[in-house]
Symmetry: none
Subunit: 205 residues, 4 copies
């Protein structure tokens, strides 16, 4: 049997990619986003903060958006992952609760909102986000799970996801006062009612 070249990635010649450099870039991007905001974030600044050559950054990422995407995607998925073994009502309540925290307090959430903003302004970011939007993915997973429950009247996927996250996200994007706990709570009731899901016995209300 031919055992050579089993893994095309396994045996690259030359110096291997530096993992410390990769992490330094991701952390530098995160830190600078918080400190300066997306607009003032620059490839040059990231490289300098990371103590890394500029070419090293360009070698692995095409834009600051790609760096941020890689830096936050895993966190987004984790913070909004489906929690198993819950009733429909409890799962929905938990998701909206965590979505609220994500949008108001999480670094990953702030980064996501920045990328969503940048995607309106830069086509490359838009393409990237549309092809793998971690927030839409999490909502989609939840909606699919809920739909398997009996008696629920959940609309078609696109609308369901938009109703679930559209209101809080729009509020986070453009409201003059930040998202309130009361907002999240009432949103939960409205969605649950609209989708025919019972919220009886939930303590967070």
């Amino acid at each position: 049997m031919d055992r050579a070249r089993v893994d095309p990635l396994a045996s690259a010649r030359g110096r291997p990619r530096s993992e410390p450099a990769r992490e330094a870039v991701l952390h530098a991007a995160d830190d600078l986003l918080v400190e300066l905001g997306y607009e003032a974030l620059t490839m040059k600044g990231i490289a300098e903060r990371a103590g890394v050559g500029r070419q090293t950054v360009y070698r692995w990422w095409a834009s600051k958006a790609e760096i941020l995407f890689e830096a936050c995607a895993l966190d987004v998925a984790r913070e909004l992952a489906l929690e198993p073994d819950k009733t429909a009502g409890a799962a929905l309540a938990s998701y909206i609760e965590r979505l609220h925290v994500f949008l108001t307090d999480s670094d990953a959430g702030a980064t996501y909102l920045a990328l969503l903003g940048a995607s309106q302004v830069d086509r490359a970011v838009a393409d990237q986000l549309r092809s793998a939007d971690p927030l839409r993915a999490s909502a989609h997973t939840l909606v699919d799970a809920l739909r398997s429950e009996a008696r629920s009247t959940i609309p078609a996927d696109g609308l369901a996801v938009a109703e679930l996250v559209g209101a809080p996200v729009f509020q986070a994007l453009s409201a003059s006062d930040p998202l309130s706990r009361r907002f999240a709570n009432e949103h939960l009731l409205a969605v649950a009612a609209s989708w025919g899901i019972s919220t009886n016995g939930l303590d967070w209300l």
Copy 2:
């Protein structure tokens, strides 16, 4: 009776502001946004396209966002203005219909989405948009009008506005396929049901 000098501001000294220059800038900004997108839009490019000195642009607007805001605010308000003398259901249906057109086909809508995006990325834009968001204003006006109808169960202002426009806007911002007519239609039904508003006899359904 000597009533001269009634208005001390009336006779400003020096050459008055050039209205043609102002309009040329607004139109140039609009055109270039469509042609190039927000990212590639520059103050320099606007000035050149408008046939205007750069200083003249900076004299009256601090950023490209301010220009776009002035260029689209009136159009937004007009396209989403409250239509008088309608039933609650008809007013709601008309608004969502026009919101759909606004988000998919209108220049003003494209500009608004770009500004909403830029506001996530640039604090100055955020401040400006939060202090006078024309889309929120239009939705607020509609919700107030609907609330005066009997029997409606509309939630508090913030949430009502977010539910009304949040889903379509989120869809426009991030969906991989553009807003569909079906989406708008189902969104109307969901909102109307949730708010206890009858849509009987509406022909657009």
Copy 3:
């Protein structure tokens, strides 16, 4: 006889030129030259310092050089004027003494040097200065007077003027240390010797 319009300049129509404005401009130019130097001197700055409209400045002077020229020409002529009733040696000594003061301590001298410099860099200044150079004029006057003395062997006009003022002016223009009294003194002796003029009995030596 018709005595009207005898003087074509007498009765210009409209508002007459403002003498206060003219003087304010000349003084502002002088002051700013001292404060900022020639390079940083601007028409705009002169107008603002003088409390005068910019158009008023441009109406009467074509450039900052013209303003400075008008501001200093009279002073130059006065400071270097021929002093009557002196022997050749005394006249020459007095001239070189005053030239030395002019180049090192006089405002008019500083302005003249600035204009001489600007004339190398700006053709308009060069034309103006060549057509009415107050320093050359003063030297010319002195040389003419000396030439009428007996026994002097003064070279042709051009060279005589250049020998008389060229060395001190070059020193003022480019020496690393400023003009010294000793320099002036030795220059006097050299010129007097070369021109066959006696400096016996002069107390300034």
Copy 4:
């Protein structure tokens, strides 16, 4: 013997300076000075003519004067270098002859006069020129050589240099008609006579 690492500065890191870019800038500056004159010469124009980024120009030179200085300093020194193996009279005659050519026909001379002018108008240029004036240096070298000859009565350095070059330079700076051959000739005779140097047997007279 291990003599490795003799020069710790030898291996500078990063991309080395581009010699072609340096030369392109110097030539562009020279060409544009002749074409446009000093006033109209701009850093931007030099960069564009040289086909070089503006930052590259600013990285190595602080002003157009610095560029011109570097561009002409070598030429000035070469054109006015001391010629060996001559009698005092021949050396002096040769120098004044070449000074005359320098001031009337040489590109380097035109550049020097422009810099001398700019130095009256811009302190930075003045500092630079005073710290390394190539014309003064050449005159100084000549005077030192002449002084070693017997029987010459040359005044102190400062005055000698100023007498030697002051008159022609002043003439070049401010005369309405350009320097004439006759002027140079008479200037030579006057200086030689004043300094006790014989010009017998020189054919250029």
